[in-house]
Assembly symmetry: C2
Homo-oligomer: 341 residues x 2
DNA sequence: TTGAAAGCGCTAACAT
DNA sequence: ATGTTAGCGCTTTCAA
């Protein structure tokens, strides 16, 4: 019985154990170059027996190739980002590339720090949420000379590639749909998050279209922190007790929309006759509600997939392929809460 | 105006731009060793102006120190793991350590692959969900000579440290509480996931205690995939139409419990008189439901914090500190759905 | 307080 | 098909 070493194993250990040169061992373990079947078998056996785990730090330094893709998102707290991440993992799975996640909490300075931290590992690409970054962050991304895909949003000027939806347009289309159904006394419920640029843009697109039709938001309510479902209830109650004649509530996300819906149903409101509702995101959760909340699909998984596809393609062939711009089209799902006519 | 270089900047570039030796530049950027204030300033200015991002691959190879902590979890799809991750990030934030997440989809072979992948980056520690792993995974973890914390579960033999709750006990305590309230015709609703060992253990603890009291599960229903809220509804309906005399439903997670609760309320059931309900996890979402579902807090954030604390401590002082075992105590929250008496 | 030399564990490029 | 050599960009160690 051999005594297990106190230090991590190296190629040399496998080389000695198998009687094959380090270089050939390296080739076998990477499936690179021609190695006879006999040698491969010897090496594989030795590596397995020893429990050798290659040192990618050394490998990456030597080859100046890193199989990591940095993925930077604002939050894990709501269900929107996990789905984007799934789309990314799923698509990257077959490519040898590995996603590494970083979370910014919607703070630009944190984003900057996380980005610096990740770039210091010299990843093969970056997928980052949003188009708004600090000057320093933009500078880092531009200097990095690697594919960068900004996701979720297409209203603005991307650094490189971009996959997302237009939130201004999403807001506008929802406004159109609401007006078309004949609603006029419209309330808005959202988050108190100046740094959530996508929510802000939806709001802008929404109010702008209303204004064009001569309609103004009749009342609004904002929240931060806590259970979104509960906040949705509370805000809805507050809004309606202050402005009882509202005939429509536009929620900036489905979770608060669901809370509002539950509360209104309990109170015996006639939906969508007396009051209509809409949220945003198209989360799976809505399927289980007593009524189908109207919403707009944010194409989350699709965005993840596309972004990963772009990164993978650029990594496989760095020469070709310019800065792709993919604008996805989110469709309104009218559900049961947006059909007055 | 200088022409930006086509290759990533190195220490040497900063050295040349600042007129300070590479070694001293390295010291400044790491805040290590004594360097005069004047030199520091020169170096900092040069690094900032050039937009230098250190190469951690080279740094880690040279120092054989890596600031990464591998975090391996089964899924991001439900809200249980994101909260664990938050606890970890939060606690690691001040330590210079950086979490890197990997997802296994509840597949042992995927776990093995992800683990291998992560260990090849020579992380400073591993946090991994569960106590059940393949032989190869266990072997890798043991050879790695780094702190390993298995989380979420304490029913079993950990490889090294361990932070979690006893799911058998959680199941047993819920059974006790249900029986104590006088319920006897009990239905169980859960997931079709043989690899979800924690759900399995809760189920075992639950049925075992019932058996001791001479009670058997009257009926059960399992699901996989889809919106958990919706599945909760559907399963509840199916179960009650098959076995109408049930007086209690134990759901293996809060999301399906919430679905069941909503359906029962719509049908006009008297809760908790006619039928009682309980879930598991203590998710924030429950706060916004029309009634407070009884549940058991799985201490998710706390588990993340503790695990991170252990890793950080062991990294700071590798000598001392054996394999800590932390068993947290999940408390029953009776809510509105578990109080017949 | 600063610098020079050696080498971390691997792989590219070039032998053989 | 296999081996040899020379680094990758940084930090450790030792010297000045």
């Amino acid at each position: 019985m051999t005594i297990p070493p106190r230090r991590p194993l190296t190629l040399r250990d496998v080389s000695e154990a198998s009687g094959v040169s380090e270089m050939t061992v390296s080739r076998v373990l990477r499936n690179k170059g021609d190695v006879s079947e006999a040698t491969r078998a010897k090496v594989r056996a030795a590596a397995k027996k020893l429990g050798y785990v290659p040192n990618r730090i050394a490998g990456s330094l030597a080859s100046s190739r890193v199989n990591l893709v940095a993925v930077i998102i604002p939050s894990l707290g709501n269900m929107v980002f996990p789905e984007v991440l799934s789309g990314i993992s799923e698509t990257l799975a077959g490519t040898g590339l590995q996603p590494v996640f970083g979370v910014t909490d919607y703070l630009p300075e944190t984003e900057e720090r996380v980005l610096f931290e990740m770039l210091s590992w010299r990843p093969s690409g970056v997928i980052i949420a949003g188009l708004e970054h600090t000057e320093a962050s933009r500078a880092m991304l531009m200097r990095a000379e690697i594919p960068v895909v900004e996701i979720m949003d297409s209203d603005g000027a991307p650094i490189d590639a971009c996959v997302g939806i237009s939130h201004r347009r999403a807001g506008r289309e929802m406004a159109e749909a609401i007006l078309r159904e004949g609603y006029r006394r419209i309330g808005f419920l959202g988050t108190k998050m100046p740094a959530d640029h996508r929510a802000r843009k939806r709001f802008e697109g929404f109010t702008r279209h209303l204004a064009r039709a001569g309609v103004e938001i009749a009342d609004q309510e904002f929240y931060s922190g806590g259970s979104a479902l509960k906040k949705g209830r509370e805000m809805t109650e507050a809004l309606l007790s202050r402005t009882p004649d509202l005939d429509f509530l536009y929620f900036s996300n489905d979770m608060i929309g669901a809370g509002g819906l539950l509360w209104l149903l309990e109170q015996g409101f006639d939906i969508p006759g007396q009051i209509g509702l809409a949220g945003f995101n198209g989360v799976e959760l809505l399927d289980g509600l007593p009524r189908q909340l109207a919403t707009m699909d944010a194409c989350r998984r699709e965005i993840g997939r596309e972004a990963a596809r772009i990164i993978a393609a650029r990594c496989a062939n760095p020469a070709e392929g310019g800065a792709e711009r993919v604008e996805l089209t989110p469709l309104i799902a009218r559900g049961d809460t947006l059909r007055r006519r």
